[in-house]
Symmetry: C2
Subunit: 473 residues, 2 copies
Amino acid sequence: MTKLQTLISEKPWVAWAVFGATVVIVFLAGLFGASVVERRSEAQQRFQIVKPIGEWEPRNEIWGENFPREFESYYKTSDTNFASKYGGSKTVDMLARDPNLVVLWAGYAFAKDYNQGRGHFYAIKDIRNTLRTNQPQPATCWTCKSTDVPRLMSKMGASDFYKKTWNELGSEVVNMIGCQDCHDPKSMNLRITRPALAEAFQAMGKDIKTATHQEMRSLVCAQCHVEYYFKGKTEKYLTFPWKYGFTVEDMEKYYDEVEHVDYVHALSRTPILKAQHPDFELFKMGIHAERGVACADCHMPYKSEGGVKFSDHHMQSPLNNISGSCQVCHRESEATLTKNVNDRQDKIIELLHTAETSMVKAHIEAKIRQAQWRWDYIAASHGGSFHAPVEAGRILGASIQKAGEARIELAKILAVLNVKTPIAFPDISTKEKAQKFINLDMQKLKLDKAEFLNKVIPEWDKKAAERQSKMNQ
Amino acid sequence: MTKLQTLISEKPWVAWAVFGATVVIVFLAGLFGASVVERRSEAQQRFQIVKPIGEWEPRNEIWGENFPREFESYYKTSDTNFASKYGGSKTVDMLARDPNLVVLWAGYAFAKDYNQGRGHFYAIKDIRNTLRTNQPQPATCWTCKSTDVPRLMSKMGASDFYKKTWNELGSEVVNMIGCQDCHDPKSMNLRITRPALAEAFQAMGKDIKTATHQEMRSLVCAQCHVEYYFKGKTEKYLTFPWKYGFTVEDMEKYYDEVEHVDYVHALSRTPILKAQHPDFELFKMGIHAERGVACADCHMPYKSEGGVKFSDHHMQSPLNNISGSCQVCHRESEATLTKNVNDRQDKIIELLHTAETSMVKAHIEAKIRQAQWRWDYIAASHGGSFHAPVEAGRILGASIQKAGEARIELAKILAVLNVKTPIAFPDISTKEKAQKFINLDMQKLKLDKAEFLNKVIPEWDKKAAERQSKMNQ
């Protein structure tokens, strides 16, 4: 007999104690196991709708009750922190930083006012505040600014929406960019809510419905972060010039074919193409797109909180979150990766300024349209010098060459006309002097804007609040 | 008792059989183990000198008896196969492919003859054959072409070597580039045999002796694959213009400071800087150098034969050996990686041709020196559009801008002089027409060269053979 057997035969309560202890331990282990299984299934569960969301619900707060993590991180776009050395920590007055822009855009609204873009949070606020806009603005200008747009388009159709003015829909478009713009309210799948992108795919002979989930993680951004124009004098139909493809020449070919002109230059009388923000197009030319990386991989990387993995909806420069974005693939230090980005930006910014200087010199009429389109294509892109630095360099080199050709033609004319060169150059050393040079009445513009903000906007907001409070009932 | 015990007690020979079999198995295992250990130590042993190599032995065959794998792979450089779509499978007559070059180099020997470079195997043969060289050539031209150079420099000193002519040393410089150029004959360590590189480091305040082994795997290449000039009208002292750094502007600053001019343009009378092959410098500006990759990592990757790992001495385009080079780090398919390289090259070649066309138009005098230096800097680099495409784009953009400025000045002058523009352009559609346009007497050049090759060279080779046969005794 073993010692235990001896012990039990002498003191039988010991056996019962061992039995009881075992029961307790097994029970606790069972509880713990159940808890683990439950947490896992919680983490696997994609989401739970605690409060139903209407098909075209524009208010982020309603979506946010179901998705607090996404909602809270999205609202961090209110804290606009530009990581790039060319951004700085606050919004930059681009015209004050580089008064050449005033001259290049003479005859176009950007000469009045142009600040570096801020986070999605400010979409409605900033487009109301800029001197570029006022009451008779076409509604098309709102297409990318508000979750109210899909709602209105579902009611009135896209083409009718585009034909309206700000005046007519002022109280309807009040909610900033948000959940509704990219997500289906039932399945939360990504969806395209702006017809222009789907139509541009069609024009290229493609069907956007065949896009994979990973492609959609870029395409929802491509609804807005692209080159576009308003087609038709009264239709103002939002159109992407992608018929012939994604390169700067492809789009130029399209614009030339439809004889599109964004503005006639106030000094040179040249019909000018203004690039908007061809970010998706330039991104497609770069190595990250080539490797299948999506916008969201770097600008909305996954993170974990409380055992739940979710996509960080604080869209921002990846330089603000290198460990969550770049370092998922790249093993280099934060300092090295930051230097690599800055190096690319430095080289392209240098070429950008060379192109700019050449064109400002050629502002008097000459064949400056092609050169300016190429320069603007890169100047207007937000991330071109990182996304596709080689393509950006190629385009700027062509811009510089075309500006040179224009100035040669000009030099001949001036010499024959016996105009002494170099022409006495106006003082455009500050934004104010440059705006005066191109004859902008800035005081009147500012007074008009103040009236718009102080009288019109409060009316719109009041009406919108009344309308939305009824939606809540 | 177990069954075995029963068996043994009944049949004792069984025990002996088991014992015997065990002995045999253990013995064989021991033999196998010894063989494994021996093979491992063979593989670990760096090398074994079976035939001693003299301190300045120029003949690759002597080194090759000790290092058959390196020797045999090195001799594959005789099979020049250009992987790039811009190379083709045979040596390309660059002037015939692009007659613009004849005009751009009018007044310089490259307008006479310029073929795409071939493998190291052809170093002596090709420099003898080109129309650019003849008997009075400075010996400095040989510095990078032969293993006889370190031998001669050790005897007479570098500066005396540079002062000699081909005529004086014709029978001494006969062995192609080879082992001696990069390796110490005792330790086989990499070593710098050309003083220009060490002196350039000194000029930058650096000591090349502190270079790591990985750095040396690029620096031995940088002895030759760099920008250089011959300093002094009689000294012809081989010098790298690195005093201010590795950028195109740094070198221009140095050349301007020492008032260096490679040639005066035959048409425009402009003092021109000719770029040689700034490959190491451009490589340093790119992401591969930034990540610590050495020339040898891609152009001489490791391979295995018979359990021995060695560096493949068949220097060639990595596109010929993607699995051994690119795919060591990059997981993409060969097709994808090839496309990525071609995309970069396409964009930069496009800018290169834009710059070229601008400059040919400006060949009549104008301030074309800065533009041409920048164009040539990229045109003369072998791998710039892959090694550092963003830097290459930046430089070409500046070239185009400067060519434009020059042409504007020109346009003014021509208009005032009442010269009708565009100027009637000469027919330079072929190499021959372009050479005629710049007044080159090609027939005389070819006759002179034939005499040199048929009369002088055989004499040199005969003397060299006699001299070397004495070395063998």
